[in-house]
Symmetry: C2
Subunit: 345 residues, 2 copies
């Protein structure tokens, strides 16, 4: 081992990943896209196959004190299906590897797999491999998802162009607020195990955190309407961060409008209860697993009446920058991380 | 969670996997083979793609007190490439996910990735995805490998037929003996950290444990010679166990000959030093990552002179059973696990 020791904290996880990715070479002509999008894209005759993978660890990505095992199995699949959807592809197969210690019973493992199989059924995919192995410590779940789409119909982060319309599905910020509720209830329970958590009035936000749904319905509808987005990705790290990725890879700018941002009433009310700014939650909340995409203006008519697609802004020239226009018609520069709402300054 | 609690130990890891696999359904016509071979097989036009995955955990699958990080990265890739080879396919892409705690430095992570990239270069594959995430405890590495082969040329465990010749590559048992040496040196070092391990005279067996090589050379040579094996798998759990898989899936029996089994002199001598029976090591030693395959008799001439392919026996009718013919010409029934050599009775 080298004698020099640089702490990962010194360059950050993001810096580390960038440094490692610099070493990676592409050798195969069948690799149409490697690292850098929601999924890799591989040549497969008239079709392309897309491949994406996620590694989930107990204590880092999930907390078993409030995540039911069935939901956890479902979510581990859904977050990968969401990446397949973000390429405009239809998922076809998954592999699932699980490592667990003997504190888990056979029934517990079966509950995880029941969630995995429920997701496989819902998204119409086959479980084609993986293994179940022992772990010295926590639960580890590794899922790889494969999908396919007609060659040329796959959608990258890099295709947005000036005047395209920016669209998001569903509503945003709920998963982050759901996490706040679950963390609070966990603390209450830890302080007094006889207290029953009061989750009924938070059922929407907590379900968005515990059992997110990949938006395959939208992908099928876009096909039926013959709309191919110019760029797309799923919203796992927050809308603002994802807009930065699309702008960087498409070499464009963006303007979005606060009054167009979709937020559920329960998310809004609970954010206020937690003394959090709802718009900050919408912009920076993670794990929504909704789709962010851009369309050519000519396709607007086809989607205009869709009840679950929201038109939040438009793509601009790169040197125009990235802005949020507030309800009071002030243009505020978007920040990818740690964005602070203007009201809080 | 269910109120009933069955310990995993009560049904065993193998029993658990069987129980979980029973729940799995195949829905996609593009899934040509799901669980049950070295890799899954997917339709891809004129080709098929094969997909295999492995999850490796510190303390379960490797021990960092003697596994150099560079070798570990290499091995994590090689064991997956070996599964691609076992389908008679050429590997094309891999995804690699790594979870680690802050006890690892940037240099340590770079050492792991240097091993991964060295393997990617050697096997001519692209690293197309994966992530680097934090772990609360040990190091976790998850690799998925993808390969391809002309449709109809993929080789399953199920194609062996009566009178086929049973072939193995390289030599067997070395990785198991290498592990014994490393474990012994670790104990010596733990007892007295000033002792330097004496590994020079064991360099072959320890390198077989620490840095196994996938036999892609053999797959390329079989292509050049226009030989398609009738069945194939890689030897990761021991020759006897793998022969059982081929016999079960091909519905055949097998007879192999002790005097034909390939063992390296260092493996033999070290086994004796450890008071282990060398033939037991060959039959039941894991992690050799050599290839076990069967060929039609008509192909024998093409391979007869190959310096690294050994003809160890032949396939029989299923009801003839599975036998090892010893040097003293006694037929001993093969056992898949815990096989005891006749001399030790």
């Amino acid at each position: 081992m080298s004698e020099k020791r640089t702490e990962i904290g010194a360059i950050g996880e993001f810096g580390l990943i960038e440094r490692l990715n610099e070493q990676i070479k592409i050798r195969q002509k069948g690799t149409l896209k490697g690292i850098g999008d929601d999924a890799a894209v591989l040549d497969a005759g008239d079709m392309v196959k897309v491949v994406t993978t996620d590694l989930l660890l107990e204590g880092v990505h999930f907390d078993l004190s409030y995540a039911p095992l069935h939901h956890l199995g479902f979510k581990a699949v859904a977050v990968n299906i969401s990446d397949v959807a973000a390429m405009n592809a239809i998922p076809t197969q998954i592999t699932v590897s699980i490592a667990l210690s003997n504190r888990f019973s056979v029934e517990a493992v079966e509950a995880i797999y029941a969630g995995i199989n429920a997701a496989a059924e819902q998204y119409n995919v086959d479980v084609i491999g993986g293994d179940t192995t022992s772990s010295r410590s926590g639960l580890v779940i590794s899922v790889t998802a494969i999908g396919e789409v007609e060659k040329g119909k796959e959608v990258y982060r890099s295709g947005a162009k000036e005047n395209d319309i920016v669209c998001v599905t569903g509503d945003l910020g709920a998963a982050l607020i759901g996490l706040q509720v679950l963390e609070r209830e966990k603390e209450v329970y830890m302080a007094n195990p006889n207290m029953q958590p009061e989750l009924d009035k938070y059922s929407y936000v907590t379900s968005r955190q515990l059992k997110p749904d990949a938006r395959m319905d939208i992908i099928h509808e876009l096909r039926d309407l013959e709309v191919v987005p110019t760029s797309m990705m799923d919203i796992s790290d927050g809308l603002a961060s994802e807009l930065f990725h699309i702008c960087k890879q498409s070499k464009v700018g963006v303007t979005i409008y606060e009054d167009k941002l979709p937020i559920d009433k329960q998310t809004f009310d609970t954010a206020v209860e937690f003394n959090m700014d709802p718009i900050t939650c919408v912009l920076n909340g993670g794990e929504d697993y909704e789709l962010l995409f851009t369309i050519d203006q000519k396709d607007f008519d086809k989607l205009e009446k869709h009840p679950d697609i929201h038109f939040i802004g438009h793509i601009t020239k790169e040197d125009s920058g990235k802005f949020l226009v507030t309800k009071s018609e002030t243009a505020v520069e978007l920040k990818a991380q740690g964005w602070v709402h203007f009201n809080q300054k």
